[in-house]
Symmetry: C2
Amino acid sequence: MSTKRIGNRTVKLQNGPTIISAASVVGPKEGKGPKSEYFDLILDDDLYGEKSWELSESKMVQTAMKKAAEKAGKKLEDINYLIGGDLINQLFPASFAARELQIPFFGIYGACSTMAEGMCLSSMLIDGGFADFILSGTSSHYCTAERQFRFPLELGNQKPMTAQWTVTGAGSVLISSKGEGPKVKFLTVGKVIDKGIDDGNNMGAAMAPAAIDTIYAYFNDTKDDPNSFDLIATGDLGKLGKQITEDLLKEKGIDISNVYTDCGIEVFDLEEQDVHCGGSGCGCSASIFAGYIYNKLKNKEFNKVMLVSTGALLSPTSTLQKQTIPCVAHAVVIVNEE
Amino acid sequence: MSTKRIGNRTVKLQNGPTIISAASVVGPKEGKGPKSEYFDLILDDDLYGEKSWELSESKMVQTAMKKAAEKAGKKLEDINYLIGGDLINQLFPASFAARELQIPFFGIYGACSTMAEGMCLSSMLIDGGFADFILSGTSSHYCTAERQFRFPLELGNQKPMTAQWTVTGAGSVLISSKGEGPKVKFLTVGKVIDKGIDDGNNMGAAMAPAAIDTIYAYFNDTKDDPNSFDLIATGDLGKLGKQITEDLLKEKGIDISNVYTDCGIEVFDLEEQDVHCGGSGCGCSASIFAGYIYNKLKNKEFNKVMLVSTGALLSPTSTLQKQTIPCVAHAVVIVNEE
């Protein structure tokens, strides 16, 4: 077996792929949330000067990527690969961003797990010496997601209390083989788990089993101690999915409760902002990681963090065909080395 | 700069990631095409016993993946990663296949470039020692693609002569760090290129510039000789796109005409099967590679092949918003080592 693998599912990176910079862009509502001070850009208008929400979303992720490169003093020509995707059919925002940025492009789709999926792939490609710099990022937009997955906004549909609110936001990280910053040390790639939930307005419950499976696999493979982490952040399970994850992991002997949060809870004020169970969308864990968490890592307020972005791989077509919701979660462990 | 990189864009794999098996499944029409003898399974009925075309497409790619594992004498539990995707919104077929196969899953989207995209990622992850076995594959289905991208089949719409016919087919390869078989030696990842074509019924012309860009980058980086190849196969540019690619590469000083074909031309009999410019869809280069090309490599009739899967990253939404078509092409060079 490869010496870079630990246990069944986990990879231990040998050469310390480093997150040398990160940047985030969010919409007006997210800019009023509790983590607003950590975002690089808060838009006044969610159209961002474009003619459509999809073009706005594409511009948001472009901006996050350009800013991440700029912060590290890198030109776009220095970047070997761009790895990205989003919720929108055929990755309209990411594909158009890749056209603009002119960096060789791997399109990925993991629904709201995309941020961690991109970080897993980027870290391995850097660690293996196949690239010197990789930009990875993702986005979501409340208005593009609602009309694609649910109803036209103009209908003003109401949602049940288990529903979440798609974040308008983008986040990007620049990962390199050298330079200063926190390093990706472990990653655990998710299996697709489906426990039979078919309610697209209860994604937290649908995705929690995937998060549990991946987090459990990590701890089972590494025998690591949950309390050695400063933060374990799933995203975006929301309030209900977080509770399920915490409870069921405890039943399986893994108690993460002291260090556990969910990006969907961090991004909005659940009491004040009328978002029901919390934030969701690829941009949720992307902006919270690239904004809040990365800044805390950089400042050494956090020294060991696990990001577990979670995605629901349903489609409107699969739902109409009465299929249940397959879900996936990928874990990335990031540390400041002494 | 990383020693695994050559020139600007090309990666040279050091540890000989090996394609130890491949398998393909195609629909009835493809089973009447000129390469039918190379496919592992030809369906009698394009519903494949399922209730919807999407579920049929998912079953096709599952079958191709299971057969690839079986041919190499591997169990699904032995496989570290599954890398796949398809044309369908939210990767309905691939996501459901990953749910069934229970292998840690990276979802990717590169439209019809997905086969080569998956092979690029798989080869690097194997070469870098992050996995021992990776299954990579993709699919397309005439009936799922037509209704999603164009019109309901029941309308019986006619198409212009520049249009192509989406292949009902799936192909999968099993790549490993050891074992017998042809090896992936070089890869060149594509940039997103858009020369302003906005006609979704002329994908060959839209995608040709992306193929040209990637093939040119490979030859520019490596100084390799086109005539050292037994075959250079783009896919799926069709008749028109192939001609454009051949002509414009010749203008740039790269003459591939002696060894050049396109998977969209190989899969159907263009004179007899009423497919206009030829085959298209992720399943086109996937089934032609996993069927015809892989078999010829295995038998040493071919000893050096370049597969350049090409994808058009448009969406129905981007088209409605009057956007042109961004395209991408990834190249994988596979050799039998003496």
